[in-house]
Amino acid sequence: MSHFRSEIHQRAEDLVALYPRPRSAMLPLLHLAQEQDGYLSDEGIAEVAELTGTTPADVRGTASFYDMFHLEPVGKYVVGVCTNIACLLAGGEEFLEHASKKLGCSVGSTSEDGLFTLEETECLADCNIAPVVQVNHRYVRTTTPETFDAMIDELRDGKLDHDVPSHGTLIRVRRSGGLRASRQEVADQRIAAKAARDQRIESEAK
């Protein structure tokens, strides 16, 4: 019995099929596990291990390297405030302090209602609108305490559900095309292309 619900399981299998080796699907699959459970649960990790032909310990050891993966439950909304150099120069530290007061939780923890987790992030590559704030990895572009507060209130009221979907950076990524040639066909093409090239190089040499 799969821990992933059927839609996620199908997407996971499709992802594994994209790569020459199943383990390559590790990071995308972990994003999917997080999309379903909000964090990397033991069951989610076991499922990823099975799909990638690895062990749960191996999956956990890989996941723990990456900042985007949560090994403990987090809030419905993960609010990331950048304080790196460009944001620092725009008051990012003070902004993070404000965010902590507004959300009622310290950096790295979750608000009592379980709705918000606050993180101090490294550069999020949107430095012309600093300080940069992301919620569930969506740029919300609120650079003043007032607009930040209003954004949080709207999130709480469910008014931003369209702009800020729940967890999972791949939640709206769907692949609809793909190479329809068989692997054999591609291999044959490669051999033919190489032969053609060798022939050209040889004739150039002459």
Binding site: S24, A86, E122, A125, N128, R138, A193, R197
Partner: protein
């Protein structure tokens, strides 16, 4: 005044709200270059890129054409595109993946054809949720349009492109760490030699890794010829380049301008570009190429924006990100934050980087927040010297990758330029700006 008469090469669709759609792309000359490339021999396409003298736009500035031609003897198995843009204050690839994904996709197909590979991966940092959606949509559209997949536009060439999300690790911008992540492992940079993935890359097979901006230049180069690209810019720095301008300027943003013909002053002060310093304050210092680069003072504002020109003054144009600090900015706090970043992002494989970054960060924290000692200033220089012996530029390396040797850049240059500020922090028992 800045020289702005060069053509827009990678931002030509900047003014269209729907610049990311296939319809707009086709309407503005999209996929014409690919059709042209498919009528050429693959080596001829590579030769155009070589003639363009296109330097890689990721940070190291290695000539893209040479990266390809080194491999001519052994066939390449995979093309991997580096879209893991994480160098602090760099946000140009973010622009390209969200606003012009088809241009990137077309560039990738052209490169794959030139290299004769049938499988490409676009590795994009996981925090680019919208970028991932836009690039996947562009790929879906390209498959439906016949520009990707089996027998592209009726030719004998087939290609599959997979967009692969990262998961939040700066080090994955290092190409061998990126390959490890793409293999589903922790992002640990690989031991060199071999220095180039072209020798041993993805799954141990020859692999070319190129940056998003590098790829995005290819459609224009194929359409207009390598010579037309090489005619722009100057010296070894051909073409235009995207500069991400951030910090204490009136108009921070991504600007495509011709290299060498423009100076840092043009970029920062021209009203059509940076527009000068906020509240017309005095500039104190600027970082010319991402936080891995040593800082410059105002006396170098008239330096041309060129790779060799900046290298000649002991720094680098790096990732094309320029951070401006003014008289109100605390340089000690800025250095502390940069070292905190490196400490957090060190992968932990090599002792000088793992231990050194944390030690430096703690010393910088003391200086900024109180408790700093006068001897900390020389201790910092000594620690830096242990990571990059001699504190030369380019730095000597004691580690597997260049993350470690990048840590001293800001510390060393800031102490050289602003030692008085460091001393003032010790005497004041913390930041005097507070």
């Amino acid at each position: 005044m800045a020289t702005l008469d060069a053509p827009r090469i990678v931002t030509s669709r900047k003014d269209f709200a729907d610049s990311f759609t296939l319809a707009r792309y086709l309407d503005t000359g999209g996929y014409v270059a690919l059709k042209k490339a498919l009528t050429m021999f693959p080596e001829a396409v590579a030769a155009e890129v070589d003639a363009a003298s296109l330097l890689g736009r990721g940070g190291a500035g290695f000539p893209a054409g040479r990266k390809w031609s080194m491999l001519r003897k052994s066939p390449i198995s995979y093309l991997v595109v580096n879209g893991d843009e994480s160098e602090p204050a760099t946000f140009k690839d973010h622009y390209l993946v969200e606003r012009d994904p088809h241009q990137l996709v077309e560039g990738v197909i052209i490169a794959a054809y030139a290299l004769q590979v049938n499988q490409a991966f676009i590795f994009m940092r996981g925090e680019f949720a919208l970028g991932l959606e836009r690039v996947q949509q562009a790929l879906n559209d390209a498959y439906a349009h016949g520009a990707l997949g089996s027998k592209i536009f009726g030719s004998d060439f087939s290609l599959d492109v997979v967009v692969h999300p990262g998961a939040g690790a700066y080090i994955c911008g290092e190409e061998t760490a990126l390959i490890e992540a793409l293999e589903g492992k922790r992002g640990f940079p690989r031991i060199k030699p071999p220095f180039f993935p072209a020798v041993t890359g993805l799954y141990g097979e020859p692999t070319v890794v190129n940056n998003v901006e590098t790829m995005s230049n290819l459609p224009w180069i194929v359409n207009n010829g390598g010579a037309a690209f090489a005619a722009l810019g100057g010296g070894r720095s051909a073409g235009t380049r995207l500069f991400a301008l951030a910090g204490r300027v009136k108009n921070p943003g991504v600007y495509e301008i011709e290299m060498v013909k423009n100076t840092f002053r043009d970029l920062i002060y021209d009203p059509r570009l940076g527009g000068g310093i906020i509240d017309d304050k005095q500039i104190k210092a600027f970082i010319p190429g991402g936080v891995s680069a040593p800082w410059f003072g105002p006396e170098l504002l008239d330096l041309p924006l060129g790779q060799d020109e900046v290298a000649g003054e002991g720094s680098m144009l790096g990732s094309g990100s320029i951070v401006v600090m003014d008289e109100t900015s605390c340089v000690v706090r800025a250095v502390w934050r940069i070292t905190k970043f490196f400490s957090r992002e060190s992968c932990g494989q090599c002792t000088p980087c793992r231990e050194g970054s944390g030690w430096i960060e703690r010393a910088m924290y003391r200086l900024e927040h109180g408790g700093g000692r006068m001897e900390d200033i020389d201790l910092l220089l000594d620690l830096c010297d242990n990571i990059a012996p001699g504190l030369t530029w380019p730095p000597q390396q004691t580690t597997i990758c260049v993350l470690g040797p990048s840590i001293p850049s800001s510390v060393h240059s800031a102490i050289q330029m602003f030692r008085d500020d460091f001393v003032a922090h010790v005497q004041h028992g913390g930041c005097p700006h507070e």
